[in-house]
Subunit: 426 residues, 2 copies
């Protein structure tokens, strides 16, 4: 039985117990969330995930880091080092977005090395194969099905499936003047396929078979947003919202079939549209966990998109988004290097944690209180060990030379914390 079926039967599985324990929640609450589809546990039943991860309502906001080889960057060893950087920085899940010849080998390595749940976009492997013999429009269901089966058997915990890019949506897209029509790779393959073949998206028409495969391995479906806006001006148009409606229907079919589902969301979204994007997803998709990419709140920050994404992610998560896909400083420019990956994970974790305080996630402010108490007593070691990244503040402090060891070089003898302590002795 899958997690959702077990939960519906009233069973508290070992995984539910682990998630509840990690979150400081009653296992009954987690079980109920899974039964209702507001919580997912991303775990392939063939995969021994060391750090079991729950995503959804009442739980801490989670952070995903994308990795993967490409034709320009086919070094698996390098990607495995990046995996370690991402996990050390605190990523809750990893997506392997490899394209090109090394896909199979890379997936095997990363499943072996990852201590956290692993997701893929199987369409990338399909496209890599199809492009070897022709163009995307030549893709057939017989190219897709075996890749889904193979990746499922390899132990992938969640699949991004762009089943919501329907013929009708491509019509919407054609009619509307977007600045950037399609910025989702999976979405662009399917738009291309639909335009050239004039037929319905095979991931949509074969969705029942996808559900069968997912159910067999208890793979969570992450319903991809091929129509996500790639410019703030394009946000919230009919193509995006129409796709969300379809994703809500697919999520419902998944739940009815005993398959866990979450919904992927934008993208580039101005701040004033984030709250209703989240509310709309929750309403249209029956409260399915919402997995957002950023969102980036402006287009003008290449080189700093981890910051634009942290702003959007914090707002989205504080409004109810459950899962943040990191955006690194190298977004729109190149594949991220290790430093970008580390800083990208940290930026998303800051957003996730700040949102958890705002949405009242159990125990989230305790961390801040502990760090602020260490700050009060100028306990520098305590501050470092409690910091979201212990290395960076330590490095900063080491490079400065305050006159007195219990203050910092910003205020020195003017340190208000020290001064207040003396004048306000209680």
């Amino acid at each position: 039985m899958t997690q959702i079926e077990e939960a519906r039967n009233g069973t508290i599985s070992a995984e539910v117990r682990i998630v509840a324990q990690k979150e400081g929640l009653d296992p009954a609450l987690v079980r109920q969330g899974i039964a209702e589809g507001t919580i997912v546990i991303t775990k392939n039943n063939l995969h021994a995930v060391k750090n079991i991860c729950g995503i959804g309502k009442h739980l801490k906001t989670k952070v995903n880091a994308n990795l993967g080889t490409s034709e320009d960057s086919p070094d698996i060893k390098e990607e495995i080092e990046k995996l370690k950087v991402a996990i050390d920085a605190g990523a809750d899940t990893i997506m392997d977005l490899s394209v090109g010849d090394k896909i199979t080998e890379m997936l095997e390595s990363i499943i072996k090395e990852s201590t956290v749940p692993l997701g893929t976009v199987p369409l990338y492997e399909v496209a890599t194969n199809v492009l070897k013999r022709g163009s995307i429009s030549d893709m057939r269901w017989r190219d897709i099905e075996p890749v889904l089966e193979r990746q499922a058997e390899a132990g992938v915990d969640f699949f991004t499936i762009h089943a919501g890019v329907t013929k009708r949506i491509v019509e919407y897209l054609k009619k509307r003047e977007r600045i950037l029509d399609v910025v989702s790779r999976g979405g662009s393959f399917l738009v291309d396929w639909i335009v050239k073949n004039g037929r319905e998206n095979p991931l949509y028409t074969h969705f029942d078979r996808i559900l069968e495969i997912a159910k067999k391995f208890d793979i969570t479906l992450s319903l991809g947003d091929g129509m996500r806006p790639g410019a703030v001006k394009d946000a919230g148009d009919s193509a995006q919202i129409q796709e969300l409606i379809v994703l809500g229907q697919l999520a419902n079919r998944a739940r009815e079939s005993g398959v866990q589902a979450m919904i992927e969301g934008p993208g580039h979204v101005p701040i004033d549209q984030i709250e209703y994007n989240v509310a709309l997803e929750k309403t249209l998709c029956g409260g399915a966990p919402f997995y957002v990419l950023g969102p980036l709140v402006t287009d003008v920050a290449p080189g700093y998109d981890h910051i634009a994404g942290a702003i959007g992610g914090a707002i989205a998560a504080s409004c109810g988004a459950d899962f943040l896909c990191y955006v690194t400083a190298s977004e729109h420019l190149r594949l991220p290097d290790k430093e970008d990956i580390k800083e990208g994970v940290i930026a998303s974790r800051i957003a996730a944690h700040a949102a958890d305080i705002a949405k009242g996630v159990t125990g989230s402010m305790d961390w801040d209180n502990a760090l602020s108490r260490a700050r009060k007593y100028r306990d520098w070691k305590g501050q470092f060990s409690l910091a979201i990244d212990p290395q960076k503040p330590k490095k900063y402090r080491t490079t400065s030379k305050p006159k007195s060891s219990d203050v910092c070089s910003m205020c020195n003898e003017f340190c208000p914390i020290k001064r207040g302590e003396e004048s306000l002795k209680k």
Copy 2:
């Protein structure tokens, strides 16, 4: 006459005209905002400010960078280099927060070199002087007044004045258990003084004389928040809100006396409290421009406080805050170096700009649209020149080697923008 007096008389000053032109607004609207106190133009009438800057309602959100020498870091040349870094990165104003022996010399240099309005906290010079002969509790009005006069004559454009730290507020502070009692340097001096002398804050009792000096030079008063929370747990307590009530009364007295005023705000604030903090300031302070420090939305991010501050600043400004004081990555750890200053200004500008899109500031999304169009056509030079920081994306791209020159190494031949362009030809 001061700007506010001229505006009330119906005069459109040269400065109003410049601000209106820079913002793409009708000069009458800017004049009205100044007359009502919802807009300030921070300019000492002795200071030839090259980049005149308006702050407040309907205007673009502005960004301030703090600089200044200290006993540990007394190098004026270094600070002037930092000034250039901050201005090149796009800071709209600078505050010289110097403490220690070099204050006078530093202030003269920075006024000479700065092309943007300059603010100070005159109490820092007062405290530096008083501490040479004894303790803060020895401070008398005769120590304060000449410093205000001298800095006014030197051309300082705005003064932070912590006149809201009253005896009553110190009583509130004593009663409540904050994690971090006082984290404002100015606030901590005054709390110390009030506790030791048992008398009312001299900046409060002599506020009329401060207004006279400010009026003579048309200095904008930035009413300081000595009670700003320094931990998210401490946010929104009675000491903070009581001080805001006092600041509202003082802002009103300033406006009545023909002096422009803005209000300083927190600090460390959880996301769910930001919106009402801004709304409360607008209501209690008659719509005076709100100048926030961050706010930091979590305490756990030392080394990354520019990100925690960008999240809070974007939310605050999208809710109506007008002016963001940058927070650098070195906050809580050391004085910022040049790199911290640059990245701190950029992070705050991302927050300010994202907020401007959300609050519908005239023309703000045009910038994003232009950059996204350059992205659509893979016009890399265009993307760099339009980017909030042209250097960093250029550097990123230079270090990556995509197979084809019109895409990037993240997607390469899978570039959805290029692919969509081909399949969706209109």
